[in-house]
């Protein structure tokens, strides 16, 4: 605990056990992006996964939408300290996309439109923990929230849920993405408060 701030009482919004340390609850949906919002038509959208051996799987929008979908009801946590409870998404589990893929890679680079990247251990994307989502709250995903398709990795800080995602590349060594090179943490667990690169 830090020094006491005289006269500060606070609103005690963090009594909620759903709230990780240093976060506060918001009811609206702030936008965190580092540049203009790209306008990507679903028809031109493509997604690919490339293994460390150079094997690539590709999905067009139609192929992607033919995959089984799941509804995901989850809390999300932004590194800028807001958390939003009970968000509702619809998308395809990454387990479905990884099925049968031969890889010994431990690390993933997420690639997004415009060249933005973020890195994440492969284990964080498997086992029912990550999705490619195309609907939020029953509506097509807004471009400013990453539409037509973004990643959803809700157990990590939300910058790991790349907006406008175009593909994943698998790697045997950990490389840092755009966000991590610019000061954010390589792993990003909100419950361990891994915000910035020097947090343990």
């Amino acid at each position: 605990m830090g020094i006491v701030t005289p006269g500060f009482v606070g609103k005690r919004r963090d009594a909620d056990p759903r709230l990780p340390p240093g976060q506060y609850e918001t009811k609206d949906f702030p936008v965190l992006s580092v540049g203009p919002t790209p306008n990507i038509h679903a028809g031109e959208w493509q997604f690919s996964i490339t293994t460390e051996h150079g094997e690539t799987r590709r999905w067009s929008w139609e192929e992607f939408r033919a995959l089984p979908v799941e509804d995901v009801h989850t809390d999300i946590h932004c590194v800028t300290r807001w958390s939003k409870f009970g968000t509702l998404w619809r998308g395809v589990s990454l387990d479905t996309l990884f099925e049968g893929l031969q890889t010994d890679a431990g690390y993933v680079m997420e690639h997004a439109y415009g060249g933005y990247t973020t890195n994440v251990p492969l284990a964080e994307l498997r086992g029912g923990k990550a999705w490619l989502v195309f609907e939020y709250d029953g509506e097509p995903l807004d471009p400013e929230h990453g539409g037509p398709v973004r990643l959803l990795v809700p157990h990590l800080y939300f910058w790991k849920s790349a907006k406008w995602v175009t593909g994943l590349t698998l790697h045997t060594t950990e490389e840092l993405g755009f966000w991590e090179v610019n000061g954010y943490h390589a792993h990003g667990d909100p419950w361990k408060e891994q915000r910035y690169y020097y947090d343990s």
Partner: protein, 244 residues
């Protein structure tokens, strides 16, 4: 920056900006300055250990002795009412930073600078203006500041001084009401306004860097207007606040 930790800063100066916002000058131990555009986190702790933290953009020049943040009292806010109404000179606050590595301007950047600020989004842009002046940069710089009415203008006197001293091209757009005798247009900026403003950027062999900061809806409109006018999206850096 390895090992950056929460440190106890002291408020050494307070200045009112508007009826609902003020600037705090902070003396931060072992402060070695910051990059223009960066922010710090401020953490408050109640007597029973309850803590709340928020991020604030720095408006100081990168090499200023004291860090400056400007805080607007948010309706239903938790931290901002205390920072606007509860803090006095001598109050100690915990801070972490400086933070952020993308929405920044470095004096080594020679390309023209375009900045668009909405409301309190002016703060990091003033940091860039001040840093530009301190560094003696020759980069052409222009600022477009959208604000409701004269009583909501932050950094009123400095903007005039910086305009003259840094040879900056500073324009204010009042969206609701302008000062008496104002001859310019009043109302929200249109895409055409933004594109005409961007066309004023002096010719350079380097593409301009654009910095846009403000409420989410404002930033979306301004960034879209620049991109529609032919600006490369990868040269546009944005900082948004509030919900969408």
């Amino acid at each position: 920056m390895a090992g950056v930790k929460w440190v106890v800063a002291e408020v050494v100066g307070i200045r009112d900006e508007t009826a609902t916002a003020r600037t705090l000058l902070l003396r931060i131990p072992r402060w070695t300055g910051h990059l223009a555009g960066q922010h710090i986190d401020v953490r408050l702790t109640a007597a029973d250990g309850y803590q709340a933290a928020r991020s604030y953009s720095l408006s100081s020049a990168g090499d200023d002795e004291f860090a400056a943040i400007s805080v607007e009292r948010m309706p239903d806010g938790e931290v901002s009412p205390y920072l606007v109404d509860g803090v006095v000179v001598g109050t100690q606050l915990e801070v972490l930073g400086p933070l952020g590595g993308w929405f920044v301007w470095r004096p080594t950047q020679a390309e023209p600078i375009r900045m668009i600020g909405g409301g309190s989004g002016i703060a990091p842009l003033v940091s860039i203006l001040r840093t530009h002046l301190h560094s003696g940069s020759d980069a052409p710089v222009q600022l477009l500041y959208s604000v409701r009415s004269p009583e909501f203008v932050y950094f009123k006197d400095e903007l005039a001084e910086l305009t003259a001293a840094a040879r900056a091209d500073v324009s204010i757009r009042y969206t609701r009401s302008a000062p008496e005798g104002w001859s310019g247009p009043v109302g929200r900026l249109s895409a055409a306004d933004v594109q005409a403003w961007a066309a004023r950027t002096p010719a350079s062999s380097l593409p301009a860097s654009s910095y846009i900061c403000g409420p989410t809806r404002f930033v979306e409109l301004m960034a879209d207007a620049l991109v529609a006018g032919g600006t490369d999206p990868l040269t546009v850096r944005t900082e948004r606040f509030g919900g969408a």
